[in-house]
Symmetry: C2
Subunit: 330 residues, 2 copies
C-alpha cells in the first residue's frame, strides 16, 4: 500500500480509500491510484477487501462516556437506526488515553467493521490517519469532526439563545460557568458556547468581566463549586449561563443552600434540556440529542449504500423558558 | 438436534448445552446426550461449533433502555471489563415487543457471540429456550433472571433500608410510589421493593392503607403525578418512599410547586443514588450500579474460561441520609 501511495503521489489514506471505492475520492485520483496498483501488481487482500467493502454488517460506535445522558441518548438513537437496518453495533468506550490508543491502534488493524461513528468527541490528527487507513466510512454525531460528515447543533447559536434571553430580561451582570472535559484538557468542550457569551455581551454593549467567567471540569458538583465562586465576588452576577444543564443543576444546589431564591435572587439558564431540567424547572436551550444519533445512523446507511451525503447536518436548538429565569430585582 | 434430544430424553436446550460443553450440564446427562449423538451420527456443524465454542470474541449485551442512567451505568461497567479482555461488545436495544421478538429470533439463529448478558430486564420462558439453544453462556445483571448467573441488589433489603429509616424517624403514615415499566406491564419492576414496604409496616405494627400506595409507569413526571395524588388525600402521608430516585425527583417537584417544604412538611426517600440525588439533597438507598456491570463482566470471563461461577452475586446497598428526610412535625 505504501508503494502504491508513493507511486501515485498520494497519502496512504487516500490510496486506501481509492482502492476500497470510498465515495470521497476524486475520479482522477482514483484512476491514478488504480494505475499505480496495477503497475505494482498490488492485490487487495480478500479479507481486507471483504471487510472494507461493507460485508461485515457491523458498525463501530466510539464514545468517551457511556453513562452520561447526552452520550447514552446519542447512542440510543444511533442504535435504533442501525438495528432496523440489521447492522450490528460494536460499542467502544474510550475513556482515557490508554483506551484511546488501544482503540485507534487495534480497530484499524482488524478492519472488522463497515463504518465508524464517533459520538461527542474530537478525533486527533494521528487517530484520523488510522481511521482513514481502514478505508471505512466515518461519521460524527454530537459534535463536529473536521473532514467527516457530522450531525451536531450550532453551539454558538445555542449559546446566543441562552445569553440573549438573559440580556432580554435586562440582566447586566451575567456570569458564565464553562465546562471542560477532564479527559480532553486541550479541547474546550464547547468553544462555540464560550464565544456566544462574548459576542452577546459585545452586541448588547455590555462589558466583559473575566471575574464572571468560571471554567470547571464537566459535572454537577463542579457547577456547585463554580456557583460558590461567583457568589463570593464583591459584585456577584444577577444571572448565570451554564454550558450544560448538569452544571446548572449544581449551581442551583449552591443557590438553594445559600438561601437564595431562583429566579428572584439569581436567574439560571442551561443548555441541553436534560430530562431533569423539566423536573427542576430549569430554563434551558433544548437540543434534540436522540435525533442526532438517528440522523447519524441514516448517514451511515446512505454512505454504505454508496450515496452521497451532506457534509454536515446542523440540527436546530430552541429556548425553553421555565421557572429559573426572570428580570433582575436589583 | 431434536432427534438427539428425544433419544437422550432431555430438552433441546439441554442437548445443545451438552454438545457445546456448557459447564452447567451434569456429567451423566452429558454422557447420555453424547451417546445419543454418536448413535445418530450427529455432527455439530463446524460453524456452529466454532461460534458456540468461544471463538467469536464477541459478547452480546441486551438492554431494554440505553439512555437511562441505570442501564447506561451497567453497560459502562460491563463494557470496561469485556474491553480489557479484548472482547467486543455487540449492543442490542430491545425496546418494544417487535424488537424483543427480532432479537430472540435472530441472534440465536446466527450464533455470532460467545455469551449474552441481559441487563435489567426479565427473560420470558420462550426467549430463555431460544437463548439456551445457542449453547452460549448467559449472565444477567441489574436484576435476577431465573436459572442464570446474575449480579443484582436485594430489592427487598434495599426497600427495608428506605422504609425502616422513615419508621425510625417516627413517621406513621408513609406513602409509597411504586414504579412499573410500561414495556413490561406484567412485570412489577421491583416486587421486592413493594414487599419491603408491606413487611416494614407489619413489623412496626403500622396499618397498611392501600390509599397510600400509588403505582405509576417509571419516570420523573409520573412521580410528580403520583405525589399530586397523595397530596389530594383527606389524610396525606407525612413521608413518601419512592421506588427509584427519578420517581422521587418528580415527587419533590410537586412538593415544591405546592409550596411545601422538604423535609419539614414531607420526607422523601428514594432508591439508587442517581447522580442527581446528591445535587437534590435526596436521602436514598445507594446501589453500586457500575459495579454490577463490572461483576457481570467478570462472570462472563470466568464462564468463557471454563470456570465455575457462583449462581448469583448480591451486591450490598446502603442508606445515604441527606436533607430530604426528618421526623414528622404533626
Amino acid at each position: 500500500m505504501a508503494d502504491v501511495a508513493r507511486r501515485a503521489g498520494v497519502s496512504m489514506a487516500t490510496a486506501s480509500r481509492a482502492l476500497s471505492n470510498h465515495p470521497h475520492v476524486a475520479a482522477e485520483t482514483r484512476a491514478r491510484v488504480l494505475a499505480a496498483a496495477e503497475q505494482l501488481s498490488y492485490v487487495v487482500s480478500p479479507e481486507a477487501s471483504r471487510l472494507a467493502g461493507g460485508a461485515t454488517d457491523r458498525v463501530a460506535v466510539v464514545v468517551p462516556h457511556i453513562a452520561r445522558w447526552f452520550f447514552a441518548s446519542l447512542l440510543e438513537g444511533l442504535e435504533s437506526v442501525l438495528r432496523d437496518a440489521d447492522l450490528d453495533v460494536l460499542l467502544y468506550h474510550v475513556g482515557d488515553e490508554a483506551d484511546r490508543r488501544r482503540f485507534f491502534e487495534r480497530l484499524p488493524a482488524r478492519r472488522k467493521v463497515d463504518a465508524v461513528v464517533v459520538l461527542g468527541m474530537p478525533v486527533r490528527d494521528g487517530e484520523r490517519d488510522r481511521l482513514e487507513l481502514m478505508g471505512v466510512h466515518i461519521v460524527a454525531a454530537g459534535g463536529q469532526v473536521e473532514n467527516y460528515p457530522y450531525v451536531s447543533i450550532d453551539d454558538a447559536a445555542a449559546g446566543r439563545q441562552a445569553v440573549d434571553h438573559l440580556i432580554f430580561l435586562k440582566h447586566r451582570r451575567i456570569g458564565m460557568i464553562a465546562a471542560i472535559d477532564p479527559a480532553e484538557p486541550g479541547w474546550p468542550a464547547n468553544p462555540g458556547r464560550t464565544h456566544a457569551y462574548e459576542m452577546a455581551l459585545t452586541d448588547a454593549g455590555l462589558p466583559f468581566d473575566p471575574a464572571l467567567v468560571v471554567t470547571v471540569p464537566w459535572g454537577g458538583l463542579s457547577g456547585a463549586d463554580a456557583m460558590s465562586g461567583l457568589l463570593s465576588l464583591r459584585d456577584p452576577p444577577t444571572a448565570v449561563y451554564a454550558h450544560s444543564d448538569e452544571v446548572a443543576f449544581g449551581a442551583m444546589r449552591t443557590l438553594r443552600r445559600a438561601g437564595l431564591r431562583i429566579p428572584e435572587d439569581m436567574s439560571v439558564v442551561g443548555i441541553d434540556d436534560h430530562p431533569m431540567a423539566e423536573l427542576s424547572d430549569l430554563t434551558t436551550v433544548a437540543q434534540p440529542v436522540r435525533d442526532q444519533g438517528v440522523l447519524a445512523g441514516r448517514m451511515v446507511l446512505a454512505l454504505l449504500a454508496g450515496e452521497q451525503t451532506a457534509g454536515g447536518v446542523t440540527v436546530p436548538t430552541r429556548l425553553i423558558i421555565r421557572g429559573s429565569t426572570a428580570p433582575p430585582r436589583r
